[in-house]
């Protein structure tokens, strides 16, 4: 059971990376099916490989079983590492008065989506923030917009609505307190907080 969950997650992770390479928008509902297909393909390829191995055992000189296992573990570890590395990014930044997810954050968000999809009990709070410029209430709405953009992206890539909670703090909780673009850029963000 755990194994199949992993295969699914792994497949989604891989698929996610591939989708990242070719997609530019967050709303990619059609990619969902593609992702599922990808996962199935990966799983069935594994099965095929096993079948081939069984057939090959007719020849006593070929002992491919060990090699396959080693290769499999290597991939597993790599995938885990790749996904873990991507998931280390939990803060995503935005341009002034914008709530469009930037291209450079999408691979990491895909990894989060894959993780959420594979771990249905996982819950994450999407915390939207704005910089200090402009007005307090508009920034509250803007922070929510940003968190909602991330929510849509995660859902489009396999996360389910009940895993995602959106909250905005507007400009009330800056991480950088300077009154300059460097600080503002750090403050225009959505933070993923796993519960």
């Amino acid at each position: 059971m755990q194994n199949s969950a992993f295969v699914k997650a792994f497949g989604l992770g891989l698929g996610a990376l591939m989708v990242t390479a070719c997609s530019s928008t967050g709303d990619i509902n059609e990619d969902n099916s593609e992702l599922t297909t990808k996962a199935e393909t990966t799983a069935s390829e594994n099965n095929e490989a096993n079948e081939v191995n069984t057939n090959n055992q007719v020849d006593p000189t070929a002992i491919p079983v060990d090699t396959d296992k080693v290769a499999g573990e290597e991939l597993e570890a790599q995938a885990r590492e790749a996904e873990a590395a991507l998931m280390k990014q939990t803060v995503f930044y935005f341009d002034f008065d914008q709530s469009t997810i930037k291209q450079d954050g999408k691979a990491a968000l895909m990894a989060h989506a894959a993780y959420l999809s594979a771990n249905s009990s996982a819950r994450v709070v999407l915390e939207g923030h704005a910089d200090e410029r402009g007005t307090v209430e508009y920034n509250l709405a803007l922070g929510e917009r940003r968190a909602m953009a991330v929510r849509r992206f995660l859902m489009a890539n396999g996360a389910s609505a009940d895993q995602l909670e959106v909250v905005s703090f507007g400009e009330e909780r800056p991480v950088a307190t300077g009154h300059n673009e460097a600080s503002w850029a750090e403050n225009r963000r959505v933070v993923l907080n796993y519960r």
Partner: protein
């Protein structure tokens, strides 16, 4: 006026809030009117025992000076300090080029303090104002503000707002503590009325001045609370899924406009405070927020991103029709309206800077009021429509500043510590 007198006599509970020793905010006038009236406030005589607990004359002088309408004579330059009409030497004051002189006497008896004051017109050698005001020991500043209001209204024709109050939010650097404060309009007698580790934003006054609404994040997301000033009693106002914010009382106090957002789509709603019925007024995928009632109570102004960036719109509460009001620049938000309904005041981006601008509603003419400050936000208009208090940035901190609606008068209310934000100017009680 009747209410005010009652206040001073101590019959109204709202005026009995405890006295606090030191003000956090102190007014510094940075720009006055060119046409400011030269006036001398002579320190009034004191016939009671011991030292007068509050320098009433100094408070009056500070009030009138900070308005920008008067240019006050420094006490050091006064040749004489009369307290009786007969002792006034008009020639002295004419030489000092003063238009008006205020003199007076403060006395104390078992019932409290009594101040009698006169204002004379130096050129006409004539007494123009004569008045008596009474109050308790805890009301000496109220007495002073009453005198200031009385003089201001009679000499300028504009209602004074020196007896009004401010509420505002203070925070520490780390944003780990948020305080909602209540103070005199000159920043004195600051009192903490609510404190929280979670953000507090958007304080708003009920028109009767007895209650305030504000947004607190104590539940984990923004929600509107009412708080009665006299009792401190709090109430979570709206129990809707999602978040609520941006409360604004209608001029008659019977309805509350607010923003409700569920799944990232903030829209304008109105709550009937008697029936508790809620009506949705906008339904647009863009951001709709920061509603504020027009003085007629029939329409609202609000901020919307429906044209891309934030702009100010007017909303008819009956027909729900929406009309755009601002057209200059890419960022116009958080509208406020003067009580005569003639001017719109809002946050306006020019280049990379954020200023407070006023717009004549009929002609559409826009005037940037605050060229000398940046990162300006949260404008709140005084109940006489003369001044706008707002939050701005100074030396890496957030402070309050004020500017007259015509841009002529400017003053700052710097604080000793922390960031001061989100001011809301009270109605005239």
């Amino acid at each position: 006026m009747v209410t005010r007198t009652l206040c001073l006599l101590g019959y109204v509970l709202g005026c009995l809030l405890a006295f606090s020793a030191r003000a956090e905010l102190v007014i510094e006038v940075t720009q006055g009117k060119q046409s400011a009236i030269p006036m001398a406030v002579v320190p009034m005589s004191w016939s009671g025992e011991g030292e007068l607990p509050e320098d009433i004359s100094a408070v009056v002088e500070n009030d009138l000076g900070s308005s920008g309408y008067f240019r006050m004579l420094d006490q050091a330059n006064m040749i004489s300090r009369p307290s009786e009409l007969d002792d006034i030497n008009y020639a002295d004051w004419r030489n000092l080029q003063q238009d008006f002189v205020m003199i007076g006497r403060i006395a104390q008896d078992a019932s409290g303090y009594t101040v009698e004051f006169h204002v004379v017109d130096v050129a006409k050698r004539l007494e123009v104002l004569k008045h008596r005001v009474k109050g308790k020991a805890s009301q000496l500043r109220d007495i002073a503000h009453y005198i200031s209001d009385y003089i201001f209204e009679r000499l300028t024709g504009i209602r004074g707002v020196f007896s009004t109050k401010l509420i505002y939010v203070t925070t520490n650097r780390e944003r780990s503590r948020f305080n909602l404060n209540y103070a005199d309009a000159d920043g004195a007698r600051e009192q903490l009325i609510f404190t929280s580790p979670h953000p507090i934003i958007s304080p708003a006054w009920a028109p009767d001045g007895n209650k305030v609404a504000y947004v607190s994040f104590e539940s984990g997301r923004s929600a509107i609370y009412f708080q009665e000033l006299a009792t401190g009693k709090r109430e979570l106002v709206i129990k809707m899924q999602g978040s609520t914010s941006a409360p604004s009382f209608s001029p008659d106090g019977k309805r509350l406009a607010f923003v409700h957002s569920k799944l990232g789509n903030p829209d304008i709603y109105v709550l009937d405070l008697d029936s508790r019925n809620i009506e949705r007024l906008t339904n647009h995928y863009a951001i709709d927020t920061e509603p504020q009632w027009m003085p007629d109570g029939k329409s609202l102004v609000f901020t919307s991103s429906r044209a891309g960036g934030p702009q100010v719109y007017k909303l008819d509460t009956a027909t729900k029709s929406v009309d755009r009001m601002t057209f200059q620049g890419n960022y116009n938000a958080r509208p406020r309206v003067t009580e005569d309904g003639r001017k719109l005041v809002y946050v306006h981006q020019r280049g990379q800077r954020f200023h407070i601008a006023s717009q004549d509603i009929r002609s559409g003419r826009v005037q940037v009021l605050t060229n000398d400050t940046d990162l300006d936000e949260s404008p709140s208009v005084a109940p006489n429509g003369s001044m706008v208090v707002y939050a701005t940035s100074e030396a890496d901190r957030s402070i309050l500043a004020a500017v007259s609606v015509d841009g002529d008068v400017k003053f700052r209310l710097p604080s000793k510590y922390g960031d001061v934000r989100e001011p809301a100017w009270s109605p005239i009680f």
